[in-house]
Symmetry: C2
Subunit: 113 residues, 2 copies
Amino acid sequence: MDSAKRERLESKGWKVGNAVDFLNLSPEEVLLIEIKLALADSLRKRRQKRMTQAQLAEKLKSSQPRVARAECGDASVSIELLVRAMLATGATPKDIGKAIAVAGKGGNPLPEA
Amino acid sequence: MDSAKRERLESKGWKVGNAVDFLNLSPEEVLLIEIKLALADSLRKRRQKRMTQAQLAEKLKSSQPRVARAECGDASVSIELLVRAMLATGATPKDIGKAIAVAGKGGNPLPEA
DNA sequence: CTCTTGCATATCGAATTTGATATAATCGCT
DNA sequence: AGCGATTATATCAAATTCGATATGCAAGAG
Protein backbone atom coordinates (compact mmCIF):
# COMPACT_ATOMS: atom_id res chain seq x y z
CA MET A 1 0.00 0.00 0.00
CA ASP A 2 2.98 2.26 -0.16
CA SER A 3 2.74 2.32 -3.91
CA ALA A 4 0.39 5.28 -4.14
CA LYS A 5 2.48 7.35 -1.79
CA ARG A 6 5.66 6.27 -3.44
CA GLU A 7 4.34 7.12 -6.84
CA ARG A 8 3.43 10.62 -5.69
CA LEU A 9 6.95 11.20 -4.48
CA GLU A 10 8.80 9.69 -7.37
CA SER A 11 6.99 11.73 -9.96
CA LYS A 12 8.63 14.94 -8.78
CA GLY A 13 12.38 15.14 -8.67
CA TRP A 14 12.46 13.53 -5.27
CA LYS A 15 13.88 10.14 -5.93
CA VAL A 16 15.94 10.42 -9.03
CA GLY A 17 16.90 14.02 -8.42
CA ASN A 18 18.27 13.17 -5.02
CA ALA A 19 19.76 9.84 -5.94
CA VAL A 20 18.34 8.30 -2.81
CA ASP A 21 16.07 5.29 -2.89
CA PHE A 22 12.62 5.86 -1.49
CA LEU A 23 13.01 2.96 0.88
CA ASN A 24 16.18 4.39 2.32
CA LEU A 25 14.52 7.59 3.48
CA SER A 26 13.99 7.88 7.20
CA PRO A 27 10.44 8.42 8.42
CA GLU A 28 11.34 12.02 9.22
CA GLU A 29 12.60 12.62 5.71
CA VAL A 30 9.43 11.16 4.26
CA LEU A 31 7.30 13.37 6.50
CA LEU A 32 9.26 16.43 5.49
CA ILE A 33 8.64 15.70 1.83
CA GLU A 34 4.99 15.05 2.46
CA ILE A 35 4.70 18.35 4.25
CA LYS A 36 6.21 20.08 1.26
CA LEU A 37 3.85 18.33 -1.12
CA ALA A 38 0.86 19.19 1.04
CA LEU A 39 1.89 22.83 1.06
CA ALA A 40 2.49 22.75 -2.68
CA ASP A 41 -0.96 21.34 -3.36
CA SER A 42 -2.63 23.83 -1.10
CA LEU A 43 -0.68 26.67 -2.62
CA ARG A 44 -1.71 25.76 -6.14
CA LYS A 45 -5.36 25.53 -5.23
CA ARG A 46 -5.37 28.82 -3.38
CA ARG A 47 -3.43 30.61 -6.08
CA GLN A 48 -5.59 29.34 -8.94
CA LYS A 49 -8.65 30.82 -7.29
CA ARG A 50 -7.12 34.27 -7.07
CA MET A 51 -4.39 35.01 -9.55
CA THR A 52 -1.84 33.88 -12.09
CA GLN A 53 1.60 32.53 -11.27
CA ALA A 54 3.17 35.72 -12.58
CA GLN A 55 0.98 37.85 -10.33
CA LEU A 56 1.84 35.80 -7.29
CA ALA A 57 5.50 35.99 -8.22
CA GLU A 58 5.29 39.76 -8.21
CA LYS A 59 3.69 39.86 -4.77
CA LEU A 60 6.36 37.48 -3.59
CA LYS A 61 9.09 39.46 -5.28
CA SER A 62 10.11 36.23 -6.93
CA SER A 63 9.69 34.92 -10.46
CA GLN A 64 7.02 32.96 -12.26
CA PRO A 65 9.27 29.96 -12.85
CA ARG A 66 9.97 29.72 -9.14
CA VAL A 67 6.27 29.80 -8.35
CA ALA A 68 5.74 27.03 -10.87
CA ARG A 69 8.39 24.92 -9.18
CA ALA A 70 6.91 25.65 -5.79
CA GLU A 71 3.51 24.43 -6.90
CA CYS A 72 5.01 21.29 -8.37
CA GLY A 73 6.59 20.44 -5.03
CA ASP A 74 9.98 20.54 -6.68
CA ALA A 75 12.86 19.40 -4.53
CA SER A 76 14.68 22.67 -4.99
CA VAL A 77 12.00 24.68 -3.22
CA SER A 78 12.22 25.21 0.50
CA ILE A 79 9.38 25.17 2.98
CA GLU A 80 10.32 28.75 3.61
CA LEU A 81 9.33 29.78 0.10
CA LEU A 82 6.19 27.67 0.19
CA VAL A 83 5.07 29.39 3.36
CA ARG A 84 5.89 32.83 2.02
CA ALA A 85 3.92 32.02 -1.10
CA MET A 86 0.96 30.85 0.96
CA LEU A 87 1.02 34.10 2.91
CA ALA A 88 1.15 36.03 -0.34
CA THR A 89 -2.10 34.37 -1.39
CA GLY A 90 -3.65 35.72 1.76
CA ALA A 91 -3.39 32.54 3.79
CA THR A 92 -3.38 32.91 7.57
CA PRO A 93 -1.17 30.91 9.91
CA LYS A 94 -4.28 28.88 10.61
CA ASP A 95 -4.66 28.04 6.93
CA ILE A 96 -1.04 27.03 6.71
CA GLY A 97 -1.27 24.98 9.87
CA LYS A 98 -4.25 23.12 8.49
CA ALA A 99 -2.49 22.38 5.23
CA ILE A 100 0.50 20.94 7.07
CA ALA A 101 -1.51 19.00 9.63
CA VAL A 102 -3.00 16.89 6.90
CA ALA A 103 0.32 15.91 5.33
CA GLY A 104 0.96 12.23 4.90
CA LYS A 105 -2.68 11.30 4.77
CA GLY A 106 -3.42 10.21 1.26
CA GLY A 107 -6.90 11.58 1.81
CA ASN A 108 -9.45 12.73 -0.70
CA PRO A 109 -7.94 15.66 -2.51
CA LEU A 110 -11.26 17.30 -3.28
CA PRO A 111 -12.23 19.07 -0.03
CA GLU A 112 -9.11 21.18 -0.11
CA ALA A 113 -9.01 24.94 -0.31
CA MET B 1 -1.01 47.32 21.96
CA ASP B 2 1.65 46.39 19.49
CA SER B 3 4.29 46.90 22.12
CA ALA B 4 4.21 43.35 23.47
CA LYS B 5 4.45 41.83 20.02
CA ARG B 6 7.06 44.32 18.95
CA GLU B 7 9.14 43.64 22.00
CA ARG B 8 9.10 39.92 21.28
CA LEU B 9 10.41 40.49 17.80
CA GLU B 10 13.02 43.09 18.59
CA SER B 11 14.68 41.00 21.24
CA LYS B 12 15.94 38.49 18.69
CA GLY B 13 18.08 39.69 15.84
CA TRP B 14 15.02 40.58 13.83
CA LYS B 15 15.03 44.32 13.86
CA VAL B 16 18.60 45.38 14.35
CA GLY B 17 20.04 42.34 12.62
CA ASN B 18 18.04 43.01 9.52
CA ALA B 19 18.32 46.77 9.58
CA VAL B 20 14.64 47.06 8.84
CA ASP B 21 12.29 48.99 11.07
CA PHE B 22 9.53 46.94 12.59
CA LEU B 23 6.93 49.32 11.27
CA ASN B 24 8.18 48.95 7.73
CA LEU B 25 7.55 45.22 7.62
CA SER B 26 4.63 44.13 5.52
CA PRO B 27 1.90 42.11 7.23
CA GLU B 28 3.16 39.02 5.42
CA GLU B 29 6.68 39.55 6.66
CA VAL B 30 5.41 39.95 10.21
CA LEU B 31 3.37 36.77 9.92
CA LEU B 32 6.36 34.87 8.61
CA ILE B 33 8.43 35.95 11.59
CA GLU B 34 5.65 35.09 13.97
CA ILE B 35 5.39 31.65 12.44
CA LYS B 36 9.09 31.16 12.99
CA LEU B 37 8.86 32.30 16.59
CA ALA B 38 5.89 30.03 17.22
CA LEU B 39 7.82 27.08 15.83
CA ALA B 40 10.88 28.04 17.83
CA ASP B 41 8.90 28.18 21.07
CA SER B 42 7.21 24.89 20.40
CA LEU B 43 10.49 23.29 19.47
CA ARG B 44 12.17 24.37 22.68
CA LYS B 45 9.34 23.08 24.82
CA ARG B 46 9.21 19.74 23.04
CA ARG B 47 12.96 19.31 23.08
CA GLN B 48 13.37 20.19 26.76
CA LYS B 49 10.99 17.40 27.68
CA ARG B 50 12.98 14.80 25.82
CA MET B 51 16.64 15.59 25.32
CA THR B 52 19.52 18.01 25.28
CA GLN B 53 20.34 20.37 22.44
CA ALA B 54 23.39 18.29 21.58
CA GLN B 55 21.30 15.13 21.36
CA LEU B 56 18.78 16.76 19.09
CA ALA B 57 21.60 18.10 16.96
CA GLU B 58 22.87 14.59 16.47
CA LYS B 59 19.48 13.26 15.40
CA LEU B 60 19.23 16.21 13.05
CA LYS B 61 22.75 15.70 11.80
CA SER B 62 23.33 19.32 12.68
CA SER B 63 25.20 21.02 15.50
CA GLN B 64 24.30 22.14 18.97
CA PRO B 65 24.87 25.82 18.17
CA ARG B 66 22.44 25.62 15.29
CA VAL B 67 19.81 24.05 17.51
CA ALA B 68 20.34 26.84 20.01
CA ARG B 69 19.80 29.43 17.30
CA ALA B 70 16.73 27.62 16.08
CA GLU B 71 15.17 27.66 19.52
CA CYS B 72 15.97 31.35 19.91
CA GLY B 73 14.08 32.10 16.72
CA ASP B 74 17.24 33.54 15.27
CA ALA B 75 16.85 35.25 11.93
CA SER B 76 19.46 33.02 10.33
CA VAL B 77 17.38 29.88 10.81
CA SER B 78 14.94 28.82 8.14
CA ILE B 79 11.50 27.37 8.63
CA GLU B 80 12.89 24.34 6.91
CA LEU B 81 15.31 23.64 9.75
CA LEU B 82 12.69 24.41 12.37
CA VAL B 83 10.36 21.86 10.84
CA ARG B 84 13.09 19.26 10.53
CA ALA B 85 13.97 19.84 14.15
CA MET B 86 10.35 19.44 15.19
CA LEU B 87 10.16 16.16 13.31
CA ALA B 88 13.34 15.03 15.02
CA THR B 89 11.65 15.52 18.38
CA GLY B 90 8.96 13.15 17.23
CA ALA B 91 6.43 15.78 16.25
CA THR B 92 3.80 14.78 13.70
CA PRO B 93 2.58 17.02 10.89
CA LYS B 94 -0.44 17.60 13.07
CA ASP B 95 1.72 18.86 15.91
CA ILE B 96 3.57 21.17 13.56
CA GLY B 97 0.35 22.40 12.01
CA LYS B 98 -1.02 23.24 15.43
CA ALA B 99 2.11 25.13 16.40
CA ILE B 100 1.91 27.23 13.26
CA ALA B 101 -1.81 27.82 13.44
CA VAL B 102 -1.52 29.78 16.66
CA ALA B 103 1.21 32.08 15.38
CA GLY B 104 0.52 35.75 15.84
CA LYS B 105 -1.79 35.24 18.75
CA GLY B 106 -0.06 36.60 21.82
CA GLY B 107 -1.94 33.93 23.75
CA ASN B 108 -1.10 32.36 27.07
CA PRO B 109 2.18 30.56 26.61
CA LEU B 110 1.47 27.97 29.28
CA PRO B 111 -0.80 25.43 27.54
CA GLU B 112 1.81 24.70 24.95
CA ALA B 113 3.43 21.35 24.36
C1' DC C 1 36.53 27.28 44.29
C1' DT C 2 36.75 24.04 40.40
C1' DC C 3 34.74 20.83 37.33
C1' DT C 4 31.23 19.47 34.56
C1' DT C 5 27.16 19.99 31.86
C1' DG C 6 24.04 22.45 29.08
C1' DC C 7 23.16 26.50 26.40
C1' DA C 8 24.54 30.93 23.82
C1' DT C 9 27.43 33.61 20.61
C1' DA C 10 31.00 34.41 16.86
C1' DT C 11 33.15 33.19 12.65
C1' DC C 12 33.74 30.94 8.37
C1' DG C 13 34.00 28.09 4.15
C1' DA C 14 30.71 24.86 1.92
C1' DA C 15 26.29 23.68 0.31
C1' DT C 16 21.70 24.92 -0.82
C1' DT C 17 18.25 28.07 -2.28
C1' DT C 18 17.10 32.00 -4.76
C1' DG C 19 15.64 35.27 -8.58
C1' DA C 20 16.58 36.15 -13.26
C1' DT C 21 16.51 34.95 -17.94
C1' DA C 22 15.65 32.26 -21.96
C1' DT C 23 12.75 29.21 -23.97
C1' DA C 24 9.53 25.49 -24.62
C1' DA C 25 5.15 23.30 -23.88
C1' DT C 26 0.05 23.79 -23.11
C1' DC C 27 -4.31 25.72 -23.06
C1' DG C 28 -8.32 28.65 -24.58
C1' DC C 29 -10.18 31.16 -28.17
C1' DT C 30 -11.47 32.48 -32.82
C1' DA D 1 -4.62 26.13 -37.82
C1' DG D 2 -2.87 30.48 -35.56
C1' DC D 3 -2.41 33.45 -31.48
C1' DG D 4 -2.13 35.27 -26.87
C1' DA D 5 -1.87 34.03 -22.26
C1' DT D 6 -0.34 30.87 -18.79
C1' DT D 7 2.56 27.45 -17.00
C1' DA D 8 6.75 24.26 -17.22
C1' DT D 9 11.82 23.40 -17.77
C1' DA D 10 16.88 24.64 -18.02
C1' DT D 11 20.77 27.26 -16.58
C1' DC D 12 23.44 30.15 -13.67
C1' DA D 13 25.48 33.65 -10.62
C1' DA D 14 24.24 35.80 -6.24
C1' DA D 15 22.45 35.46 -1.80
C1' DT D 16 21.17 32.80 2.07
C1' DT D 17 21.52 28.99 5.07
C1' DC D 18 24.19 25.37 6.53
C1' DG D 19 27.36 22.55 9.77
C1' DA D 20 31.70 22.89 12.05
C1' DT D 21 34.62 24.83 15.29
C1' DA D 22 36.10 27.78 18.97
C1' DT D 23 34.79 29.97 22.87
C1' DG D 24 31.96 32.32 26.47
C1' DC D 25 28.61 32.05 30.13
C1' DA D 26 25.67 30.23 33.85
C1' DA D 27 24.16 26.87 37.20
C1' DG D 28 24.77 22.78 39.97
C1' DA D 29 27.86 19.27 42.32
C1' DG D 30 31.46 18.08 44.91
